[in-house]
């Protein structure tokens, strides 16, 4: 487990999860998670399906309130505030960008897809919106492909383009925390590598949580990685520690070596 104190040379803690237990209809789907995520790192979460990875993300931006059967105990401290006790969840969600496994291009134009979050936040000036849209699309490596058809429907783009559109939309929130939930499931390898490049670039501005079931993707990108298995957090460690032979945990080793999952 990660130590409570900040080790020298470490970045400040962005998010600290203490004794988090999530249950669904009384059945635990993730129990006793303790981990800390540092500012401006890419934090990987790996683990087989059903390990509770997505539920963990749902807690972070309080999407759990739309699932009444879900109950949560513990603490998630982000910037000194326990977000599980937070009332203004809208501000929280605005500061947390989420990218889903399957791209969700809203049936709006490409432009409106990216401008939606700024508009929700009250930005109305056309000039300012134009700037945000171009900047976000550029950072999501999509601008060159769509700059001539910003007014066509976002939902008509190809799968890989839509996923980058979703990332651009998440970036338009100027998120403190960007959560990606198995973003590469519906994306071809070339686009995956492009998005991975994008993530490496933007981590200087935001903290990224990368949930993935491609262990090699976590290895490529994450500085530290958590391994979730059987509704619990088995191990949190520096990514290289977790992947190389010195791993102490037998289950982790079996998983990263591809023996199950």
């Amino acid at each position: 487990m990660v130590s409570e104190s900040i080790a020298p040379g470490r970045a400040p803690i962005k998010l600290s999860v203490r004794d988090l237990t999530i249950s669904y209809k009384g059945k635990p789907i993730l129990s006793n998670v303790n981990l800390e995520i540092e500012e401006n790192e890419i934090f990987g979460i790996i683990g087989p399906a059903g390990a509770g990875k997505t539920s963990f993300l749902k807690c972070l931006n309080r999407m759990d309130i739309f699932t009444p059967e879900m109950s949560i105990t513990g603490e998630i401290i982000m910037d000194d505030v326990d977000i599980l006790k937070m009332r203004n969840v809208y501000e929280l969600r605005r500061r947390i960008g989420v990218v889903f496994p399957l791209p969700v291009g809203l049936p709006l134009s490409v432009y409106d897809n990216v401008a939606l979050a700024p508009r929700l936040a009250g930005i109305k000036k056309k000039l300012q919106l134009d700037e945000i849209v171009e900047q976000c699309l550029q950072r999501a490596a999509l601008w060159d492909e769509v700059k001539d058809r910003l007014n066509s429907l976002g939902s008509l783009l190809s799968g890989g383009q839509q996923q980058r559109l979703t990332i651009a939309r998440a970036l338009s929130q100027e998120p403190d925390l960007l959560c990606l939930d198995e973003f590469s499931i519906a994306v071809d390898p070339v686009t995956t590598m492009r998005i991975e490049g994008v993530l490496k670039e933007i981590k200087s501005e935001t903290t990224i949580i990368l949930v993935t079931n491609l262990v090699q993707q976590a290895r490529r990108l994450a500085s530290r990685t958590a391994f979730f298995h059987d509704a619990s957090c088995v191990e949190v460690n520096d990514t290289e520690e977790l992947f190389t032979g010195t791993v102490q945990n037998a289950v982790t080793r079996e998983y990263v070596e591809g023996r199950f999952g």
């Binding site: 999407m63 739309f66 809208y90 501000e91 889903f100 969700v104 291009g105 429907l153 939309r169």
Partner: protein, 302 residues
């Protein structure tokens, strides 16, 4: 690469047709034919009704017929007060039922928790849609004409129509709202939108065409209903136009009943003419909404 005639001939060897294949093909052909015929049968009544009305009622239609008052005990002159009255009744009933119905549908689809109360409300709405119109008429007479003291008036008749047609609006709106993928809502919530912002910016714009369908169904039904307005606001004959919502009015549907059964010496084409105007009104509304929906659908896709 060119396609030779050979590639269209029956596959041979390992892919040769078996008896089972041929039988399945025959069955499939038979059912397709059967269902096609049934679909054709559906068009038949519409075509017959319209054809009959145009053939028999067409000669009655003229500018005078549409825009003058009936004269000589309704056997001559036009139908303007009835046409005018129907438009009023439908418009006023829409004014009540559309906002209420859409609001209720949005609540039921977007806000209401899935519990016994919501299920009970849904059941009530479905039952309300099943209440016979004559019962609605009596209720309207009791509640609006007598109890609320509106008298037999456009307002009372429109309210009765509104209550009768509201379930159609609610059900159509609710279904089209629920047809909007949940992932759209989640994506919008994730951007920090409130439920209300999500409804306004994403859910309703994508459900407009279904909502319109509900409203049009309502228009068609209100325009054609006779019983509810007979008790509450429509009259047999009124030689002048209503001045405000508390006046009585003539209406096309009741007028049709009157001219076809109650007035001796009515020229034969007049009832057909009235029916043609009534159905024309509904068809025009329908086509307008279809055009509008096609325009919207061209704009939105997923």
């Amino acid at each position: 690469m060119s396609v030779t005639a050979d590639s269209f001939s029956f596959p041979q060897g390992a892919f040769a047709s078996t008896g089972l294949n041929l039988r399945k093909e025959k069955v499939q052909y038979l059912f397709r034919l059967l269902f096609m015929l049934m679909t054709g049968l559906l068009i038949l009544p519409v075509a017959l009704i319209l054809g009959m009305l145009v053939y028999k009622g067409g000669p009655a239609i003229s500018v005078d017929f549409l825009f003058t008052d009936p004269t000589q005990g309704m056997t001559a002159g036009g139908i303007f007060p009835a046409l005018f009255g129907t438009i009023w009744l439908v418009a006023v009933s829409l004014l009540f039922s559309v906002p209420l119905g859409i609001a209720a549908a949005i609540y039921l689809s977007e806000y209401a928790p899935n519990n016994w109360l919501t299920r009970l409300i849904n059941l009530c709405i479905i039952n309300l849609a099943g209440v016979p119109s004559i019962v609605h008429a009596l209720h309207g007479f009791g509640a609006f004409v007598l109890f609320a003291g509106m008298g037999t008036s456009i307002l009372a008749a429109s309210l009765t129509l509104a209550i009768m047609t509201m379930p159609v609006v609610i059900v159509a709106t609710k279904e089209s709202l629920q047809a909007v993928p949940q992932s759209f809502r989640e994506a919008t919530w994730n951007l920090g939108a409130t439920r209300w912002q999500t409804i306004v910016k994403v859910v309703v714009p994508n459900a407009v065409s279904g909502i319109l369908t509900g409203i049009i169904l309502e228009v068609s039904r209100s325009a054609g209903e006779t019983a509810p307005i007979m008790f509450t606001g429509a009259v047999f004959f009124l030689p002048f136009l209503p001045q405000d919502l508390f006046d009585q009015t003539m209406a096309l549907s009741l007028h049709l009943f009157v001219v076809s059964t109650q007035v001796p010496g009515m020229p034969e084409e007049t009832p057909y003419g009235v029916a043609l105007v009534l159905i024309g009104l509904v068809l025009i509304m329908n086509s307008l909404s279809i055009a509008f929906r096609m325009y919207l659908r061209g704009k939105k896709k997923w």
